[in-house]
Amino acid sequence: MQQFLAVAAQATSNSSTAAPPASPLRSRPPRREQPSIVVKEATMADEHQELTKAFSGLGGLGVEETALVSALGRWRKQPEKRSQFRQGFPGFFTPSAAGGGGTIERCSDEYVKHLKTEFSRFKNLMVLWAMHPWERDARWAHRALHKKHHPAAVLVELACTRTADELLGARRAYHALYHRSLEEDVAYRLRDKEGHLLVGLVAAYRYEGPRVSEDLAKEEATALAAAGAKPQSELVVRVLATRSKPQLRATFRMYEKISGKPLEEEFGGEAPCMREAVRCLDSPAKYFADLIVEAFKEGADKQAKAALTRVVVSRSDADMEEIKEAYLKQHGTKLVDTVAKNTHGHYRDALLAMIGK
């Protein structure tokens, strides 16, 4: 980024890769032509790389809007520059024969789809930010139920990390938006083995006070351990869907004491929602930090990446500080640093603004 802005401005560049440094030991000034041609080519390659990165071709989320606009300006009336760029970005442009003997580098359809997603990350974030949190949650829930490839885990997240009144508000917003209740849609669409758990979680109106009964925690932890904590167990669903969060945390601690391992490990691949529920109820900050890690992983799918926007927008006012702490603890780096490194443009700036220092 630095180098071609410097070249464009024709100002003295202090970037290391810009031009071969004029050595103070040279007796005569460097010959004009050669170095300048070398300078042009070196910076062309860099320009291409920067522009590719700006188009999110080199990874990272979002697009570098300022770089894109500046390239527009610089390459005005220079179609050959754009042509060279397309040739230098083979991942997304493929040469294809055009009538009349010439070739054009055509956009691959994948690329167009990719661009659409990356350009709209900022838009999505802003629209979500402006919405009432209840409407936001209701829309996410509806999407999770009605669109393909949307994991039910989003429902678990909404049901378990929101406060009782926030969840009720989301259910109200769902009525207003979709003329049905959230629980009836969940019950109807998820009539498989984890449907019971999801209906229970989504319909919960938990007591929000701090009162915890250690005796009750012990009793329920023992019952869970004795029942084998099977995913289909009615007992597990009942406990997870009705007890207050502080009470549940006490029960989870007691369970680990009694059986030697954390409750979430009892639920394997065949009960992902139950496992997510335990994790969300036990430590939402850690859960959200893990979601963010998944979003930045190599090969993350569309939903995993979208989770980044969802987590930041929905938790910015709530427990973002705890999430930052959990992230630092688990990954040794600060969340702001990871985000700054792996996102671009307005999207990056928006995320950083919502994450805070």
Partner: protein, 315 residues
């Protein structure tokens, strides 16, 4: 339609408090005065009286009532004086803690209150009992009743008029299939009854009647002693014909042998500000006797006076 009668010129709250205080002090208790005041004030007025009484005399009105009056009369007055949401919370708690298969309070609260009222009751439950209603029901009710009642009271149903008619047809068919197989505890039956909106359920029951030429309740009468089936029927009636449902409960409460005062008190105090008038009409129609007369025949003294006052009797 309510039966509660409030005088045209309601005395100021301070005066009501003073009069109530007078009713408590000295030898004995002036039960008539208590009834004359409290049984003729609506929920907002009663709330104001309670607040003013506590402020003026440093004691909760309900506490004073608890000390001064007793038995069925006390229960009726206290239940009546509570806010509707608190009342529902207290009734729900009582039934959950001492659950028995014939219990109807939870069903009534879940099915005859609006979603907003049910939510208010749950909030009141949090405040009063420091636990959620769902967790207490889940912990104390057992077996197939739990599978039915926990989702029933957890629901926050859509409140509006929109109905999906083809869904109503298909779900009526599902219900019929399960009932035909005698799978009364099937998940689909529970799902439909405990999540669909009232409007959608009414459409579904109508469709059932259209498709199979008789109402759904007729198919749920296989074993008259089966309490689970009776509960299912009660749920359906609470949605389709609440006044006739309540009429039946009252009729059975006043019935031949003894009197089920708890149910009688519950219905009268919870419906006096809602639809007790319709219930009276249903009673008259079914039994050819005014409800006041039947109640009067079966109850005595202050308890009788309280109930009659709530039923709209002259005073």
């Amino acid at each position: 339609m309510a039966t509660l009668t409030v005088p045209a010129g309601v005395p100021p709250v301070a005066e009501d408090c003073e009069q109530l205080r007078k009713a408590f002090t000295g030898w004995g208790t002036n039960e008539k005065l208590i009834i004359d005041i409290l049984a003729h004030r609506d929920a907002a007025q009663r709330r104001a009286i309670r607040a003013a009484y506590a402020e003026t005399y440093g004691e909760e009105l309900l506490r004073a009532l608890n000390d001064e009056i007793h038995g069925k009369f006390e229960r009726a007055v206290i239940q009546w004086t509570l806010d509707p949401a608190e009342r529902d919370a207290v009734l729900a708690n009582e039934e959950a803690k001492k659950w028995h298969a014939g219990g109807r309070a939870l069903v009534e609260i879940a099915c005859t209150r609006t979603p907003a009222q049910l939510w208010a009751a749950k909030q009141a439950y949090h405040d009063r009992f420091k636990r959620s209603l769902e967790e207490d029901v889940a912990a104390h009710v057992t077996g197939e009743f739990r599978k039915l009642l926990v989702p029933l009271i957890s629901a926050y149903r859509y409140d509006g008029p929109e109905v999906n008619t083809s869904l109503a047809h298909s779900e009526a068919k599902i219900l019929q299939d399960k009932i035909h197989d005698k799978a009364y505890g099937d998940e689909e039956i529970i799902r439909i009854l405990t999540t669909r909106s009232k409007a959608q359920l009414l459409a579904t029951f109508n469709s059932y009647n259209d498709q199979f030429s008789h109402p759904i309740n007729k198919d749920l009468k296989e074993d008259p002693k089966d309490e689970y089936l009776a509960t299912l029927r009660a749920i359906i009636r609470c949605f389709t014909c609440p006044d006739r449902y309540f009429e039946k409960i009252i009729r059975l409460a006043i019935g031949s042998v003894g009197t089920d005062e708890n149910s009688l008190t519950r219905i009268i105090t919870t419906r006096a500000e809602v639809d007790l008038k319709l219930i009276k009409e249903a009673y008259q129609k079914r039994n050819s006797v005014p409800l006041e007369k039947a109640v009067s025949k079966d109850t005595t003294r202050d308890y009788e006076d309280m109930l009659l006052a709530l039923l709209g009797a002259e005073y």
